[in-house]
């Protein structure tokens, strides 16, 4: 990809003509992979997709798509190992979802890369919203490959054993991931919701981050919505020009001197009208790049929510400890400031014995010590979470800025190419008219 020269006014972009291989690349992954131990050992790709039939959970026949995951050892490994052959297995979209859920629960302080959309959204009318449509399947294939590469490029996620098994063990993987019991570790929706509302001292940075991710979500959604409408209209404009082609062609049949010119011009109009299909197909790739970051905002919000939860739990633990200490003080001083059942019953049934009092005090002391341990634990958890999460968020921000900048640049290049093609077609048509 060409980078701009950094001038303040107009970015000077050099070669803007897309070669056929380049435009093919646009439908392939443009993600730059980071070096991790995993990626030094193997190359990962999702080269194919296939339809299968089978029985679903309610024993009804269904058609679904499976994707081929191919892993092959890199050059550095092959040298010594002659038995190194590429490994491959087939997986459904739902298995990818399971993997992602596992990662979300196991690494709550990391912004987990998103999957390509489950259903086609922000569709302009010609594009099918059908999940079995070959164009949709193709774009999903690219998205799944992108997902795997992003995970494999993350220095923490890449080392995960379950992830590796996902890539290499077709049959037993599902069992193994369920065995980890990650589903039990998942925080309930209710818990995280209540945390959101009751946190007393939310971290300022995280609050800002949450707002930013909400704004980004809104901005990209709006952009994608309008883009789909623009694409729709542009399609209409190009296609109507096809009518020119038809009329010119018919007209050329009744003309003598003008006949040839009209015929040729008609062909150019047909070419023009047909060109919009490719143009919009390429634009879908741009839309997909934006969608990835739209879904990333959900991942960012997950991290923020987890932080809120931990913060809340810390505050609860601190509060709990404070209560217990208060109780102890009252017990020793004999004054009842806090209403307690014991206090009530002792009023009604008379003071308790010294023995009872002392055993109660001992229990409370133990409870306080436990509480102090809990607070320390929670504090540590909070601190660690804050550190690791913030580090990953910084990483994410850098990645986001770079990726989106590249996406915008290639969008611009695409637009330029489209305009150049248009100029070519109309110049040709003008030539034909001149010769008439």
């Amino acid at each position: 990809m060409m980078a701009d020269s950094g001038s303040s006014e107009v970015a000077v972009i050099g070669n803007t003509d897309l070669t056929s291989s380049e435009s093919e690349n646009n439908t392939m992954n443009t993600m730059v992979e980071k070096e991790t131990a995993l990626l030094r050992r193997i190359e990962i790709s999702v080269p194919e997709a296939e339809k299968r039939t089978g029985k679903n959970t309610v024993n009804m026949q269904e058609i679904y798509t499976v994707y081929l995951i191919e892993t092959r050892p890199t050059e550095t490994v092959i040298e010594g190992d002659t038995s190194a052959a590429p490994d491959s297995l087939w997986r459904r979209y739902s298995e990818f979802e399971l993997l992602r859920m596992y990662l979300l629960v196991t690494y709550p302080y990391i912004v987990i890369p998103p999957l390509p959309e489950k259903r086609a959204e922000f569709v302009w009318h010609k594009l099918s919203a059908d999940n079995l449509d070959p164009d949709f399947v193709e774009r999903r294939r690219v998205g799944l490959e992108n997902f795997l590469l992003r995970v494999a490029s993350h220095h923490i996620l890449a080392d995960d054993e379950i992830f590796f098994r996902f890539l290499t063990e077709e049959k037993r993987w599902k069992e193994e991931v369920l065995v980890t019991g990650f589903q039990d570790k998942a925080d309930s929706r209710l818990k995280s919701l209540s945390a959101m509302f009751r946190v007393k001292n939310p971290d300022k940075q995280f609050t800002e981050l949450k707002h930013y991710s909400e704004e980004l979500n809104t901005a990209i959604s709006q952009l994608l919505r309008v883009r789909a409408r623009v694409a729709d209209r542009l399609y209409g404009v190009y296609k109507v020009h096809g009518n020119y082609g038809r009329v010119f062609s018919e007209w050329s049949a009744i003309e003598n001197e003008m006949g040839d010119g009209l015929q040729s011009a008609g062909h150019h109009m047909d070419t023009y009208a047909a060109s919009i299909d490719d143009i919009l197909e390429e634009e879908e790739h741009y839309a997909d790049q934006l969608k990835e970051y739209l879904f990333y905002t959900d991942a960012v919000r997950s991290v923020c929510r987890k932080h809120e939860l931990i913060q809340y739990e810390l505050e609860m633990a601190v509060q709990d400890l404070a209560n217990k200490k208060q109780q102890k003080e009252e017990l020793t001083s004999g004054t009842v400031r806090i209403f307690s059942l014991k206090g009530m019953t002792s009023k009604l049934f008379g003071q308790e014995s010294q023995e009872q009092r002392e055993s109660r005090l001992a229990a409370l002391q133990q409870s306080i010590e436990d509480g102090e341990d809990a607070v320390m634990e929670k504090n540590k958890e909070c601190r660690v979470f804050l550190q690791t999460a913030w580090k990953d968020i910084e990483r994410f921000k850098e990645q986001k800025d770079k990726d989106l900048r590249d996406a915008l640049i290639s969008y611009a290049i695409m637009q330029i190419s489209m305009c150049k093609k248009g100029i070519q077609v109309w110049s040709n048509a003008k030539e034909c008219f001149n010769k008439m």
């Binding site: 309008v226 209209r233 109507v240 009329v247 800025d401 900048r405």
Partner: protein, 359 residues
């Protein structure tokens, strides 16, 4: 009538007919003298030769420039208010070296109705010639304000083209009506003369009646021409419609595009390093929008009027063809009447000779 195979390009081909010499329209002679004493081409084939396409005209304009002796322009539209109505007056400027004109320069003010008058007189006096069409009257359905600037400008342009075409026509440019139109300060007295409107009405009515009855046979040359005119008319109408559709689609595209740019600006508001590139995209989209708007405007102001003009030309051609058909039908009817009268006369004479004693 002979069955002549005539090529689509009619240049130089004569019609071979055994008709009465009286009917000049179908005579073998390519031209006769008309009332003004000028040479008038009669057969449509030679007419087609003389009525050239624009492109060729441009090439010849350089040759013409030296020989142009009548140059007319229409400009300066101004609103004219009377007690009864308000209308637009256009300035018609004439420069000429022709001897028929007393002066070399004339300036008069004319309204659309005056142009209509001129054209109808030209058509009446030269029914075989193709008189360039005028822009249409104000049409309600187009939702254009009658005194909207764009509408007036488009009309002025078309009126200018009309007079230029007439002035370049070898026959029509010498019409006395044209001279009156260009030189007289007040047209009202001239407009009252002549049959004018009603006779054209009669023409149309007769035309309808005859097309229902059907012609005996039409000379091949004219059948070909008729077919061509029909086809051409269809094609040019289609082009007109397609262009208008494109304009509509582009306007709708533009509406959406105007909302697209701001989404980038809105996004830029929450970003740091990305803000500049995003704002850049927003301004590019805006720029594209402006260009598209200009282009759509150009289509409306330049291409559509020209296409429209040729739609009207096709209409005019059809009118001329109809007139020709009508005349042929009339001729046939009169011929039949003549033949039947002659037969009657002969049978009467025969009867008379049978019953009266030979002297």
């Amino acid at each position: 009538m002979s069955g002549h195979t005539v090529p689509a390009d009619f240049s130089g081909h004569m019609l071979d007919l055994d008709e009465d010499e009286d009917l000049e329209v179908f005579s073998k002679k390519t031209s006769t003298l008309d009332g003004d004493g000028n040479l008038v081409p009669n057969s449509p084939s030679s007419l087609v030769n003389q009525y050239r396409l624009d492109e060729e005209e441009e090439e010849e304009e350089e040759q013409h420039a030296n020989t142009i002796d009548l140059f007319i322009t229409v400009d300066n539209p101004e609103s004219h208010v009377t007690a009864i109505e308000t209308f637009i007056m256009y300035r018609v400027l004439t420069k000429t070296t022709r001897s028929e004109f007393d002066c070399s320069e004339y300036e008069v003010r004319r309204r659309y109705q005056d142009f209509l008058w001129l054209r109808s007189r030209l058509e009446e006096n030269h029914p075989t010639l193709i008189v360039h069409p005028l822009p249409e009257k104000f049409v309600m359905k187009s939702m254009v304000e009658r005194f909207n600037d764009d509408f007036i400008e488009t009309r002025r342009n078309a009126l200018d083209r009309f007079l230029k075409k007439i002035s370049e026509h070898p026959v029509l440019s010498f019409s006395e009506h044209l001279q009156v139109f260009l030189t007289e300060p007040e047209l009202t007295s001239y407009k009252k003369q002549g049959p004018g409107f009603l006779s054209r009405m009669g023409d149309t009515v007769r035309g309808l009646a005859n097309s229902v009855r059907g012609l005996k046979s039409r000379p091949d040359e004219f059948t070909h021409m008729q077919e061509y005119v029909e086809d051409f008319s269809n094609k040019i109408c289609s082009l007109d419609k397609v262009t208008q559709r494109i304009i509509r689609e582009q306007k709708e595209y533009l509406d959406e595009l105007k909302q697209y740019g701001p989404t980038y600006t809105q996004w830029a508001g929450s970003e740091g390093d990305l803000a500049e590139p995003l704002k850049g995209v927003a301004s590019c989209v805006e720029h594209c929008g402006k260009e598209t708007e200009e282009q759509t405007q150009h289509l409306s102001e330049v291409l559509v009027p020209v296409l429209h003009e040729y739609v009207l030309c096709a209409e005019t051609l059809r009118g001329v063809m109809r007139r020709r058909d009508n005349l042929q039908a009339e001729f046939e009817a009169k011929n039949e009447a003549l033949v039947s009268r002659k037969t009657d006369q002969e049978s009467t004479l025969t009867l008379m000779s049978l019953y009266s004693p030979s002297a």
